[in-house]
């Protein structure tokens, strides 16, 4: 019975809403009249809740962010949970998100593990070793420049490497692969690196020494630290640094739940819809942390705006403002002369259809009470 009524409302109400009513209705016995009344009321409420045509949603959103934004404390760093991971939060982070900065100032990943591993503390160390980036300088006992023979000498710390679970051969190979123009010779576990060409002299040796120290021997590029944490009865890993692509490749990682706060990385690896979701999640996190209350729909709206073009565009003069159709509207927000001159070069026409232009020329803005207009054109008066 209830399904019959529900069918009538298909297309008139959102499907999840109908499903929810259906589910609830099945638990209580309803008469047909009651069922119809419920749906009628629901439709009325739904229609009432919809935004009216001519509502200035953009400005309402801007104000909904702007006002609480003034109350945001400038205290930017915060310890995220138990682990000592510093995360930029507050206004600086919000600006970072909406400006669509390529790299967050504190990249952070939350890595989930697949079923048997997410409770197994023994295998944890191995997984972490796979993820955490280790560079040569962390496994060195000594490194020096031999001024007479003009080469760099270094000794690897085998004990430390064993602790970290790095096979010696792979470490040696990593260095060799990274430095193609260098000859590396081993003698009594003492390595000497000599540049193939003698050009550059001493300064080149210094840079070589620094380059050797920075070679990655194990783990994933960009992940500086990994800290395990218990959450909801399972082990999760917090990683400072972000590399979604390579982390997902690790066998034990449940990449369906693993997240990063680097929006561009999400967009690149998981697509624009995922990036949109990430923007919403990251912005909500900041707002919640500050104890503010901004309706999620405002955040969703901004996120939609930023991702609508298929790539992430910031709320900046090179981002979504560039997309505006009107020359005057673009010129009214930063670098006006550039916009005006470029527009004049291609002979752009401003149809004066939006708000800013109409404020500038002092005409009623096409919003709210200024929106309605006659569709039928008056017959032209005959010229006298």
């Amino acid at each position: 019975m209830i399904d019959e009524i529900a069918k009538q409302y298909e297309g008139r109400l959102p499907t999840p809403l109908i499903e929810e009513v259906k589910k609830e209705a099945k638990e209580v016995k309803l008469t047909r009249a009651q069922g119809e009344a419920i749906f009628a009321k629901l439709e009325q409420k739904y229609k009432y809740a919809r935004i009216q045509p001519g509502e200035a949603i953009g400005i309402v959103t801007a104000e909904s962010f702007g006002e609480p934004g003034t109350q945001m404390t400038l205290r930017t760093f915060h310890f995220a949970g138990v682990a000592e991971v510093n995360v930029t939060l507050g206004l600086p982070r919000l600006i970072e998100i909406f400006d669509a900065r390529k790299e967050p100032s504190t990249p952070l990943m939350v890595i989930y593990l697949k079923k048997p591993f997410n409770k197994d503390e023994k295998s944890l160390e191995k997984i972490i070793a796979q993820i955490k980036e280790i560079r040569v300088h962390e496994v060195l006992t000594e490194i020096s420049i031999n001024l007479l023979k003009l080469h760099v000498e270094y000794v690897l710390n085998k004990k430390r490497m064993k602790e970290l679970g790095i096979p010696e051969e792979s470490a040696i190979k990593a260095i060799k692969d990274a430095l193609k123009t260098i000859d590396i010779i081993e003698k009594d576990s003492r390595y000497t690196a000599t540049p193939k060409s003698k050009e550059g002299g001493l300064p080149a040796l210094y840079t070589l020494k620094e380059r050797i120290k920075e070679v990655k021997v194990n783990g994933i590029e960009g992940i500086q630290d990994v800290i395990p944490k218990m959450e909801n009865n399972e082990i999760i890993l917090l990683a400072s640094g972000s590399n979604l692509k390579d982390v997902s490749k690790i066998e034990q990682v449940d990449f369906t739940r693993t997240t990063t706060n680097n929006i561009f990385e999400v967009a690149k690896n998981l697509g624009i819809e995922a990036a949109r979701q990430t923007i919403i999640a990251e912005a909500s996190k900041v707002i919640q942390e500050q104890g503010l209350d901004i309706d999620i729909r405002h955040i969703m709206f901004i996120s939609d705006l930023m991702t609508a073009k298929g790539e992430i565009k910031g709320i900046t003069r090179s981002g979504i403002t560039e997309e505006k159709e009107s020359v005057l509207a673009r010129a009214s927000f930063e670098t006006p002369i550039r916009h005006l001159i470029n527009a004049s070069l291609i002979g752009e026409v401003d149809m004066l259809n939006s708000v800013v232009e109409n404020v500038m020329i002092n005409q009623p803005i096409p919003l709210g009470t200024g929106l309605p207009s006659l569709i039928t054109k008056l017959a032209k008066e005959s010229k006298k």
């Binding site: 001519g54 509502e55 200035a56 400005i59 309402v60 801007a62 104000e63 002369i337 005006l340 001159i341 004049s344 026409v349 708000v355 404020v359 500038m360 020329i361 002092n362 005409q363 009623p364 803005i365 096409p366 919003l367 709210g368 009470t369 200024g370 929106l371 207009s373 006659l374 054109k377 008056l378 032209k380």
Partner: protein, 600 residues
């Protein structure tokens, strides 16, 4: 090995920095090294630095040895009997001055109770952690620190006796409280700074009560009877001056009643207060635009003189008149000369300011508010004993700000007023609140400071007991009379045709970018247009070339200078600022063509 720096200059190294420091300080305490020299050790950089330069902020502390302060009761006795001086304490190594660097190596106890073996110094008194003005706040240890900051900030804005020679002074924008009083609840610092010689407020009876919503959001209700009795009356002084300037060619300004033939002559009415010498007489009651000093200047360009034979004709009026929106009584007239030896006339205007709705007041705890209403004494609530408060203060101002000291002062003030003595409210060493309450009870009042009160309008008894007492209130220098401003129409700027800025010029109130957004968000499209109509103009646009055409008022028709008389020209309404933008675009060699289309 640690480096040693003398006044930031490297002088050498030392083996044991800590021991060096110890012996250095010992020698200083023995007066072998001058007392103004400070030494410190920074373990982070392994550096010893010695400072002897001037300009370091230093403060005195009592030296502590083995958990005991070197300053004893004996010393205090000697000090009070003048057998010992401050200088002696320093010379005997009981008190020493530390600078910010040396302080880093010490552990200072706030009070004698806190002393342990580790402590090296002790504060002379706990109050020394506060500044001069902050220590004028009684019971400050019962309040939040941020409120203390605000409290000391408002004290600086209070009206009082700002200088004892005020009668002879010519200060700009200064006020004087007419009947200042010393506070009943005072601190140690009030005595030291001789606060009773230059008090800044008045003791008032205050009730914590709501009154018809006129005291919501920090507003105050003031008893009209108190105002009539002289509560918070002040004088506002403003100087005006005029020089008799000398110009090239022996020309000179002339002070005197301007001739009627003079250029830009005001009306005769405006000069009515001038005496024969062209200067107002003292005690003249002047309004805005009344001339205080009559003055004429020679013509701006000498060429003007040749056109007209009579020189007086071309002199300009340059009198000094009372500023827009101000009035007062001429308080003092000074005739003197300025640095260049020119005649200088200075006039001081005095205006009595009686409290009115909008004047700002504050207690000493950052509880500031504005008068919301002045109520006739008959309508004020009264206590069972017939006491009518001077001020009604909203109780909602207390909980979120946690200014407990505000509440304690009410009790303290009440006890002081009843017993006829001054209450010591010095931070950390005040008369205890408990004792005050006991004394209040002895005086025949309720211990908690509340009293039965009656509604002044209906005569009904209030259901709750009302907290009533006495407080020291400050009138702050922000008065509505100096700030109130409104305008319907008036002067506009020449360039943009938009209203000019500023209260003193009679300018408009700007509806800014964010205010505009509010109207947009409400969809109030036509209201927004109307609000921005201040610079609207009619522009004539040539339909052919899309540029601004010229309207010929003689022929009563518009022509386009480029397309000729036959071009079709239509007029549209737009903001003048946009016309300016079009002009500016033209100067950038951009051709802003306007295409007209019928809107309907």
């Amino acid at each position: 090995m640690s480096d040693v720096y003398l006044d930031e200059k490297y002088v050498g190294t030392i083996e044991h920095p800590k021991e060096f420091l110890k012996s250095f300080i010992e020698e200083r305490r023995k007066q072998k090294i001058h007392a103004t020299v400070n030494v410190s050790y920074e373990s982070e950089f392994d550096e010893v630095s010695i400072h002897t330069a001037t300009g370091r902020v230093r403060r005195p502390l009592i030296i502590v040895e083995n958990g005991k302060a070197l300053l004893t009761e004996e010393h205090l006795k000697k000090l009070s009997s003048s057998d010992m001086r401050w200088q002696d304490l320093i010379e005997q190594g009981i008190i020493e001055y530390l600078d910010a660097n040396e302080e880093e190596n010490t552990l200072v106890a706030l009070t004698e109770r806190d002393l342990t073996k580790e402590h090296t110094h002790m504060e002379i008194d706990a109050i020394t952690i506060l500044g001069l003005i902050t220590s004028l706040v009684p019971y400050a240890n019962f309040g939040q620190s941020s409120r203390l900051n605000r409290g000391s900030k408002t004290q600086k804005q209070a009206l009082g006796l700002y200088a004892s020679n005020y009668l002879l002074r010519m200060d700009t924008d200064i006020s004087l409280l007419q009947y200042p009083q010393r506070p009943i609840v005072k601190t140690f610092m009030h005595d030291i700074s001789k606060y009773d010689k230059h008090p800044c407020g008045q003791n008032v009876t205050i009730a914590l009560l709501s009154y018809d919503g006129y005291n919501m959001q920090d507003a105050l209700i003031v008893n009209e009877g108190s105002v009539q009795r002289g509560f918070a009356r002040s004088f506002y002084f403003r100087p005006y001056n005029a020089d008799e300037l000398r110009y090239q060619g022996g020309l000179i300004d002339e002070i005197g009643v301007p001739d009627k033939e003079v250029k830009a002559y005001r009306s005769e009415e405006d000069y009515k207060f001038l005496e024969d010498d062209g200067i107002v007489f003292p005690e003249a009651k002047v309004k805005e635009d009344d001339v205080l000093i009559g003055k004429t200047s020679p013509p701006r360009f000498l060429g003007e003189m040749e056109e007209f034979s009579i020189a007086a004709n071309t002199r300009r009026e340059s009198s000094i008149a009372v500023k827009h929106g101000e009035h007062g009584i001429v308080d003092m007239v000074i005739l003197t000369e300025n640095d260049e030896g020119n005649k200088l006339i200075q006039i001081r205007l005095r205006d009595q300011r009686i409290p009115e709705p909008g004047d700002k007041f504050a207690s000493r705890y950052g509880q500031k508010g504005v008068i919301g209403r002045i109520v006739p004494q008959a309508d004020m609530p009264f206590t069972a004993s017939g006491i009518v408060p001077d001020i009604i203060f909203s109780p909602h101002s207390i909980p979120s700000r946690m200014t407990i000291s505000h509440l304690i002062e009410v009790i303290g003030g009440k006890v002081g007023a009843l017993s006829g003595r001054l209450i010591d409210g010095t931070t950390f060493s005040a008369e205890s609140e408990k004792d005050l309450r006991k004394e209040l009870l002895k005086s025949g009042f309720r211990e908690n400071g509340t009293e039965r009160m009656y509604n002044g309008i209906t005569g009904e008894e209030f259901k709750a007991n009302i907290y009533v007492g006495n407080m020291y209130y400050l009138k702050l220098k922000h008065m509505v009379a100096n700030k109130m401003h409104a305008r319907a129409s008036g002067k506009i700027q020449l360039l943009t045709r938009q209203p000019i800025e500023g209260r003193s010029a009679g300018g408009g109130l700007r509806l800014g970018e964010m205010e505009k957004d509010c109207l947009v968000a409400h969809g109030a499209s036509l209201l927004l247009k109307e609000r921005f109509d201040s610079d609207k103009t009619i522009l004539h646009i040539c339909e052919t070339c899309g540029m601004v055409a010229i309207f010929d008022w003689l022929k009563k028709r518009a022509t386009c200078p480029k397309c000729g008389a036959n071009a079709e020209v239509n007029s549209i309404e737009m903001s003048y600022a946009f016309k300016l933008l079009l002009d500016e675009l033209k100067s950038l060699i951009i051709y802003p063509k306007i295409n007209l289309k019928n809107k309907y």
